[in-house]
Symmetry: C2
Subunit: 401 residues, 2 copies
């Protein structure tokens, strides 16, 4: 192994993880459980939505032309000609000069082309006064105006939101075809690591990464499978990696933070499969490994939680989206104005943590190794490899976390 890493660019690294990703299969889930799942196929409306022309208010169905010139001072007068009953399929019909009461959601009578809100009317016995003209189509939702039968309502690759679930309900989608949740094996290496339950002695730190990584991939819609802290001993580590790659869709190994440890991880991956990348031109996160064992992608993440987190966002999320086919992107961004100059090394993608307030992104300088800036920051700003930094006032895109 060479002392210095053969670094590749971030875009090359992303291409490699996309390349080794295996697309997960599909499964049907009940609609009520489909929130945040990735839609596996386009879903089409099985009916016209709405299936009939309906009123969107409580009011009186009219021919709009009959209301021309109506006002509070000079209302138009209509004979009260009946009511539409909710949920009833009978279509009433209306002649010029008549009005029929329609509750919100009720079928618009045939011959009517607008509904006057009840607030703009007054019923006096068998007469209805209309005090405001109605435009054609006012307060009416027309047959199939929302979706036509057969039209795709939600596209494959979409991570389903509450609104998507609503539209799928309207489209009659009881069981939703979604992508199986990728099972992600997580293991931590490093002789300095102790479990969270243990009070660390000098030289020891708690295994933060298993928790951060498991939570992050859970947020991305994966099932984390934690293999725990594995000592930096080749036999043991090799055995656990073999087990994890056989049981999971991808494996994330964190730690091996020192060069020696990283070399052990890389050597084991090479032995069981192949190492595609060992070192990425990214800061923090340079000593990242991308490999493949028995067809399963294996990523070696930096040991420091803050660095591992950046690599999760910058690289691993592309692995996950390639596995799920998610098109909506599993990252949130916001635009902000940079509040301070940020310098950067050319030839390396720098990720700088920022706190965003009132549209101004303030870089949180200080050591990238600190955990506290992870929780104090709103997200990160990417400084492209070809840039030497960003100036105050630049409009930037913040990857929110």
């Amino acid at each position: 192994m060479s002392l210095f890493l053969q670094v590749v660019s971030v875009s090359e690294a992303i291409a490699e993880v996309r390349n080794v990703a295996v697309r997960c299969g599909d499964e049907p889930v009940p609609l009520i459980e489909a929130l945040h799942r990735i839609l596996a196929e386009d879903v089409h409306a099985d009916v016209d939505i709405p299936g009939f022309t309906r009123s969107v208010v409580d009011g009186f169905a009219v021919r709009s032309a009959d209301t021309t010139g109506s006002s509070d001072a000079i209302p138009s007068m209509f004979p009260f000609s009946g009511r539409v009953t909710m949920g009833a399929s009978a279509v009433t019909s209306l002649r010029s000069g008549e009005c029929i009461y329609v509750p919100t959601g009720g079928i618009l009578p045939e011959g009517a082309d607008a509904v006057v809100m009840i607030e703009h009317t007054e019923q006096i016995g068998k007469e209805v006064l209309v005090k405001k003209p109605a435009a054609q189509g006012e307060n009416v939702l027309f047959f199939n105006e929302d979706f036509s039968k057969g039209e795709p309502v939600v596209q494959r690759g979409k991570r389903l939101s509450a609104q998507d679930i609503g539209v799928l309900a309207a489209a009659g989608c009881r069981d939703v075809p979604v992508v199986r949740m990728p099972r992600i094996g997580i293991l931590s290496t490093g002789n300095e690591l102790v479990p969270v339950t243990v009070r660390p002695e000098a030289g020891q730190v708690r295994d933060v990464n298993s928790y951060v990584i498991a939570s992050m991939v859970k947020e991305w819609g994966c099932l984390p499978e934690i293999y725990g802290i594995i000592i930096d001993e080749r036999e043991t580590l090799s055995e656990v990696i073999r087990k994890a790659t056989s049981e999971c869709d991808a494996v994330l190994i964190s730690g091996g933070s020192s060069k020696d440890d990283r070399d052990i991880v890389a050597a084991i991956i090479a032995e069981q499969g192949r190492v595609l990348v060992h070192g990425i031109a990214i800061a923090p996160g340079k000593p990242t490994i991308i490999g493949q064992c028995s067809g399963t992608p294996v990523i070696g993440l930096p040991g420091h939680p803050a660095s591992a987190f950046i690599v999760l966002i910058a690289i691993v999320r592309h692995l996950i989206t390639a596995m799920t086919g998610e098109t909506s992107g599993n990252v949130r961004t916001l635009q902000a104005t940079l509040g301070q100059n940020v310098s950067s090394s050319k030839g390396r993608e720098d990720y700088v943590r920022v706190a965003v307030r009132d549209g101004i992104a303030t870089p949180l300088f200080g050591k990238s190794g600190l955990l506290n800036t992870l929780v104090k920051s709103t997200g990160i700003v990417r400084i492209p490899a070809e840039s030497e930094g960003l100036e105050t006032g630049t409009l930037i895109e913040v990857i929110v976390w």
Copy 2:
């Protein structure tokens, strides 16, 4: 019941839901399951983090003063004086002029105040050439620099992110005190409603609201309890509302979209408890009911899914945050520039759907009753009651959904 609603302002409505909300109790959950839960108590670090001064790179620990003036051309020469072993508690010590190899995360030897990255050194037998000066503290994370023992690391009321989980791990928090997930009863009324599995006839629509509401409250960290479609018949509805309010922390009744249906819902709430609000100055969403039965908050939402959705965002989420004590806000916002004029009625809070692209928010005009604008929009813009509209170019805050 009066024909016209006695509308209250949105802020009064929010104050009412906050007022009727009952704070949910707490429970401990294992750290690995705490993602997205609301922290019930401040968590303090049980140890100093880090517990010892450590290197953040692989390199040579030195006294920074000894490296002054080092360069590629004229490197400083140090005798190689040993290595620090990962995870070992033994503290080595270093005298002026010496250097000791330290792996990433290793304990900094006593007497050293900086680490030179291995990339800027060259080892030749028993000698190490240092080719770059190190500043004091360079590549070093000091004892308790991240968090001091006893310091709060995450505050109560925070909805826990993956990073928070990481910091809690570092702080030794194995079981996390979180707020119990509110159980939200959901029922739909309306004789026009049919289940998703049924193909609607003329006059009928599918029950979209149960799905939208259940998914939305799930996203907010609640447990939805679906009571299904209840016919607009007073006895039956009354019985189900009684059952739901006894079993849940809050009950959301949607539908009763027409005035008659709303009146039935309001009458039942009044019978079993009290109606606090019947009508809010909000568009869409005016016919919203806020009440309380046997100490349980009951909200009557508009029947149309798009209107119900706005009321969920504008009103119900404040009920939920009051129940959980969430301080981080259960809504995401982004700033954008309005791409078109939007008019609004004074005295009413209008919520306009917008699609945001490249920082420009384009209003999706068209009927608020349409479902398709719900899925095409990025979120909503609130137009305050005192405003008559917003002009093109205004910097606005979009509530993202």
